[in-house]
Symmetry: C2
Subunit: 368 residues, 2 copies
């Protein structure tokens, strides 16, 4: 049985930052939050979704807001717990587990801090298999879990409960409230039974973050492979194995970034020594990579930008001119590529006017 | 005992439009809504706040949004009732009366439609004594009634429940949700006991609307006084009597108006034949009248713009170039002028950089 503890915390955090695909905020904050809890409780037990018993009743806890805000206004574990308690009051039932909504960024860490503080187990899986910017963009939603009660809590003891069958509407109603809450809100939503956990989850993504973080660290220690190469090797034998590809090796030439309406939106432009260009737009997370004008990876597949020297993830809010980076594309898992899934997390959901094409099916001539 | 029925409906509606002080939307819509209910139930019984028994438990129902939207997206009685039911669920107690939040505009009518459909009595009083643009701007709030649960409902069966001790925060969190709900939301809030109804209400404002509407109609029929003169005469003997003054007689020269953020904001400029000018800014309702640059009436006192021929109220969204109008100032009642009240409904709450001065204390040299 896998657990998260002080010994593997740094690997886990590194992995969540990489799975954040540009979003999810500064991993250092998540690391501090979780260390504080692990200092007290020692470890957090993980439950593989396939082993979820029928009597499990899990809640997803997450922050809403732009990651640019999270670095100044830090997510609060107690506020998250208050939202969870409010959801229990609505449902008339206590939660006995916590499930992450996202596999990447701070929202991959916050559920562990909550689970640790309450002594609850954590489901080793999530609803995105990465990070996405909106609350309807989850397997939980398109596999049939109800988002309501969608409970928002702020740091002043106030809560907002949104009751709707439509997760996109919960997102639409909730986002401007989040802005009014100071740019960050804690969300408790998608209450799930054991049966739903078994069927509506991207499985083993907490372990995945741990293993990704370990692979990058070991590559750095050994010095035989760079982080991108190490991750490509890792994904060949991950559970399940996944196709991945080095998309670009170059430097940041330009970043356009705006924090508005509760998100950070923009685009990063990269160039290499042989004159190739890559453009990657983002809404909290990277949504498409185009090489010399041609799409080479697109949502919901994962696009990761790694620091060329350290292999650490570079998030959208820390992108800056001159950074040397490697861009990695990783195939998303099948549950994220169904027709139902693509309606919610496919390119058009991000305003990109093209259809999804799986990373492994995109013709590839290299970037130089 | 006063009642509202089909015979006095038109007088009542006319009066609510005048008490709307520019806000509250098209009275014709309220008239149709209420006629539909009165056709079925016959009449609505009114309870004078001083006679409210301890076992009364009333809810305030109101629309949130810009009146410019209400004329296209009409308030829905059933949606209001759904919000009320949600509030009952939160409180674990059924309501046995309805209390208006506002004395003016559609929000003075909607509570009657709800009371009529449910067969509940209506409190003959309200929380504003006129109309105001924000939900914390009420005697209920500054006299100590809790706004929570602040329940918002839309026409698609969705609800948003805001739990906060701070009415201004409920307004701040709710307003952008209202925008996302299509520019209009039904609100159930300020659940009140009989004791609170007796002490936190502007009394007899439903009767007041009725009597104002009657005074204007009778003036028109008799032709002896214009509507403004008739109202000044009426206020001399109303219960309680109130100071009032004709502030201007002229025509509309200019209107600036913008519907944004869930309100309609702007300013109307008037002129008369002798070259005097009056400027009246508004946020849903008129907030200040300045004659040749000098303030002659200011919130929370009431500023009414009446059509010179018919005596009907002109609302901010129907103001247009060339209208011939009379502007009337009416003193607000003492509960609206306490230091606590002025913090919430005084000039500075509307961004006006001056202190309140009571209408009757403002030196007056006339407008020509």
């Amino acid at each position: 049985m896998t657990e998260i503890n002080l010994d593997n915390l740094e690997d886990f955090i590194r992995g969540t930052a990489i799975l954040g695909t540009g979003g999810g905020g500064d991993p250092y904050i998540g690391s501090l939050m979780l260390k504080q809890e692990l200092d007290k409780c020692g470890s957090i037990q993980l439950i593989d979704p396939k082993d979820a018993s029928d009597d499990l009743f899990a809640v997803s806890v997450a922050c809403m807001g732009a990651p640019t805000v999270f670095v100044e206004k830090i997510p609060n574990t107690q506020t998250a717990i208050e939202g969870m308690r409010r959801a229990e009051k609505e449902l008339g039932r206590k939660f006995n587990a916590v499930i992450p909504l996202e596999a990447g960024g701070l929202n991959a860490t916050l559920p562990l801090a909550v689970a640790a503080r309450l002594g609850l187990p954590l489901v080793d899986g999530d609803g995105m298999g990465r990070a996405f910017p909106e609350f309807q963009m989850t397997t939980f939603n398109f596999c049939g879990v109800k988002c309501a009660p969608f409970v928002m809590s702020d740091d002043f003891g106030n809560t907002v409960v949104i009751d709707t069958e439509d997760a996109a509407r919960a997102e639409a109603y909730g986002r401007p409230v989040c802005v009014k809450m100071g740019g960050i809100a804690q969300i408790a939503s998608y209450a799930m039974t054991g049966q739903e956990i078994r069927t509506c989850t991207v499985p083993r993504t907490v372990s995945l973050a741990l293993e990704i973080g370990r692979a990058v660290r070991e590559a750095r220690v050994k010095g035989e492979q760079n982080a991108a190469e190490a991750l490509i090797s890792y994904f060949e034998t991950s559970n399940p194995p996944r196709f991945s590809r080095l998309l670009f090796d170059g430097k940041v030439e330009d970043v356009i970034r705006e924090s508005a309406d509760g998100w950070v939106r923009g685009q990063v432009s990269l160039a290499n020594d042989t004159g190739n260009k890559m453009e990657i737009p983002f809404q909290n997370e990277f949504s498409r990579a185009r090489l010399d004008g041609k799409t080479v990876a697109i949502n919901p597949d994962l696009i990761m930008i790694l620091d060329r020297e350290t292999g650490e993830a570079i998030t959208t809010e820390t992108l800056r001119y001159g950074q040397r980076v490697r861009v990695l594309g990783v195939a998303s898992v099948p549950i994220m590529r169904t027709p139902e899934a693509l309606k919610v997390i496919g390119p058009r959901a991000f305003g990109l006017d093209e259809d999804f094409c799986a990373l492994e099916n995109i013709a590839w001539n290299g970037s130089d």
